[in-house]
């Protein structure tokens, strides 16, 4: 937007620095784990697989075990972390603009738990259509969309036909509780202990299910979401001025908000169906991006949130894998430990007042 006041300069420095940090983190995180592998081997195997079609492996330049660990186990997981962090970060930024409240994210607005209960239905109930991951993803999307619509209409009803930021957050909290209860009930009536364990894992969030075979749908969801959200960043800026001002500046507020909620639900569902609920990422990351950029301009904040979210979740997952050698810590615990105090810090730092609330 502005060319002459240093903000763009800040962005111009931040993007290359964060992209470098992302690449460096990727190598470092892949090298760390139950067996540490040297960075040069990690780089060599990735370079060989991506640019030389695996010639080095055929020539026996590195051990097959290292290749298995790096290429088939850790890389898909780290890429999944990147997708997950980017997706949740950008959804957080978008939702904060949509509901005009800096303390909104897919978790707080109940969309994550909606997706989770949809996915739990797929895992625990006999659903006649589709199967495997597609069934889980589709059910998660349905759950997320139901949650979004319930939150939206409850908030409108409570606000007497208008959408107040505070009522939106409150109805989000209510739907979050209801959807978590639905998941809990499904676990209660389920017969298989294996399914119960996997649903339980989900409520805490984990990237352990990440494999090459499960990465396609989330990759598609996040990339498409990123493109759409960046292209709509100008309109998201208008939304940040409040419904009346946004309408006065030419935006069809209702349709735009509904459309963007659907897009966020699809992104979140594509992730939650594999990873479960990872809370607070969408809340923390856009704020860090705004602090770094010292602006709320979505043209920069959305890609910056995606980038910082990717780096954040990659390291959070690395910590989840390595904190306790014997067992893996659910990543949701780490993001909650970081996110909840940050949430408090935000409330103390600023006296949040909703635009209309």
């Amino acid at each position: 937007m502005r060319q002459d006041n240093g903000k763009n300069l800040r962005g111009m420095f931040l993007f290359p620095i964060l992209i470098l940090a992302l690449c460096a983190s990727l190598l470092l995180v892949i090298s760390k784990g139950s067996t540490d592998i040297s960075l040069s081997v990690v780089y060599g195997i990735l370079n060989d697989q991506i640019f030389h079609g695996g010639m080095g492996l055929k020539e026996g330049l590195w051990a097959r075990a290292d290749y298995q660990i790096i290429w088939n186990i850790r890389l898909p997981r780290v890429l999944f972390g990147i997708l997950c962090g980017a997706g949740l970060g950008l959804c957080g930024a978008v939702m904060q603009a949509l509901v005009l409240n800096p303390i909104a994210d897919p978790y707080i607005l109940g969309i994550s738990s909606g997706a989770s209960s949809g996915a739990a239905c797929a895992l625990l109930l006999p659903i006649p259509f589709f199967s495997g991951q597609y069934q889980t993803t589709i059910m998660a999307m349905i759950g997320a969309l139901i949650s979004s619509f319930l939150v939206y209409f409850m908030a409108r009803f409570a606000g007497g036909g208008k959408l107040h930021p505070v009522t939106l957050l409150l109805s989000g909290t209510a739907i979050n509780a209801v959807m978590s209860a639905v998941t809990g009930f499904l676990i209660f009536i389920a017969k298989s202990s294996e399914s119960i364990a996997s649903v339980y894992n989900w409520q805490m969030g984990s990237l352990a299910a990440a494999q090459w075979s499960t990465i396609t749908v989330p990759a598609f969801g996040v990339c498409l979401g990123l493109i759409v959200c960046v292209s709509q960043s100008g309109k998201l800026n208008l939304m940040m001025m409040g419904d009346e001002d946004a309408a006065a500046l030419g935006l069809s507020v209702k349709h735009f908000r509904a459309g963007m909620f659907i897009i966020c639900s699809i992104i979140v569902a594509s992730l939650v169906s594999v990873t479960g609920i990872i809370g607070f990422v969408g809340l923390v990351v856009p704020h860090v991006a705004r602090l770094l950029l010292r602006s709320s301009n979505n043209k920069f904040i959305i890609p910056l949130s995606a980038l910082s979210g990717a780096i954040y979740l990659m390291w959070a997952d690395s910590l989840a894998r390595s904190a306790f050698r014997a067992a893996e810590l659910p990543i949701g615990i780490i993001t909650a430990f970081v996110g909840a105090p940050f949430f408090l810090f935000l409330m103390i730092r600023k006296n949040y007042r909703g635009q209309n609330g």
Binding site: R2, Q3, N101, G160, N237, E244, A248
Partner: protein
């Protein structure tokens, strides 16, 4: 652009907020709406945004029904400065004003900058351009939002109590700018002295109805002011031909 409100009825929570309001803002004139708190002035202005449902009535823009226009088209026809315009996010004054620049259609980066700077200069606030909107005073914020309406490049502006938060010098400054702009202005004012001096036509509202309309000297008669506001006051002509409002205070 001429704006006509015809038989506007708005209900909220089972209560009638506006009841068959008729009002016309003539082209190039300043039309003022006055009335006690809660009489429906702001609700009437908000009907022009097309986001609050009306029970009955019609708004005509140069004779064409508002319902037939998209929000984007409406933003090309008139600007709106709300009573509650504010922002809880970190935008600079420049960024806020530039949000209106897209309304003019495809503009190059340079012309966007020109549009924004011209608007800021018109309101004599170019020094605020890099300031965070949240660090500005209420009055400064108001000036930024009025600059944004100017940046839309429209010939009609609707303003809801734009003089709120402004000191007396800036109240006069804003109203002078609006009058000199020769735009069609539809404005809600609380200060009857300013309304008498600046407006070409006044509408006096009470309990959701436009009870009197006409020139300020017609509307601000002693008995009418007493009936609507419950105070003693009247407009009278000064030596230079302009109107002043006299309020009797105990």
């Amino acid at each position: 652009m001429k704006i006509e409100f015809r038989d506007i009825c708005v209900d909220a929570g089972g209560k009638k907020i506006l009841h068959e309001v008729n009002l016309t803002a003539e082209c190039g004139k300043m039309t003022g709406i006055i009335g006690p708190n809660g009489c429906g002035k702001s609700t009437l202005l908000k009907t022009t945004l097309g986001i609050s449902p009306m029970e009955a009535g019609e708004i005509l823009l140069d004779g064409a029904s508002l319902a037939g226009f998209s929000n984007k088209k409406l933003a090309q026809l008139y600007g709106y400065v709300g009573q509650d315009s504010d922002c809880v996010f970190d935008f600079t004054a420049y960024e806020i004003v530039s949000m209106a620049a897209h309304i003019r259609g495809k503009t190059s980066k340079k012309s966007e900058k020109e549009i924004v700077m011209n608007s800021l200069e018109q309101l004599e606030i170019p020094h605020l351009k890099d300031r965070n909107i949240q660090s500005l005073s209420g009055g400064e914020r108001k000036m930024v939002f009025i600059a944004r309406a100017f940046a839309q490049g429209v010939d009609t502006i609707i303003l809801d109590e734009p003089t709120n938060h402004l000191d007396i010098k800036h109240q006069l400054f804003i109203l002078d700018i609006l009058r000199k702009s020769k735009k069609t202005i539809l404005i809600v004012l609380h200060d009857l002295r300013l309304a008498a001096h600046y407006c070409d036509t006044l509408y006096l509202m009470k309990q959701g109805k436009a009870v009197y309309s006409g020139s300020p000297s017609e509307v601000l008669q002693k008995d009418r002011v007493r009936q609507v506001f419950g105070v003693e006051g009247f407009a009278s002509e000064k030596e230079d031909g302009t109107l002043d409002f006299h309020l009797q205070m105990n």
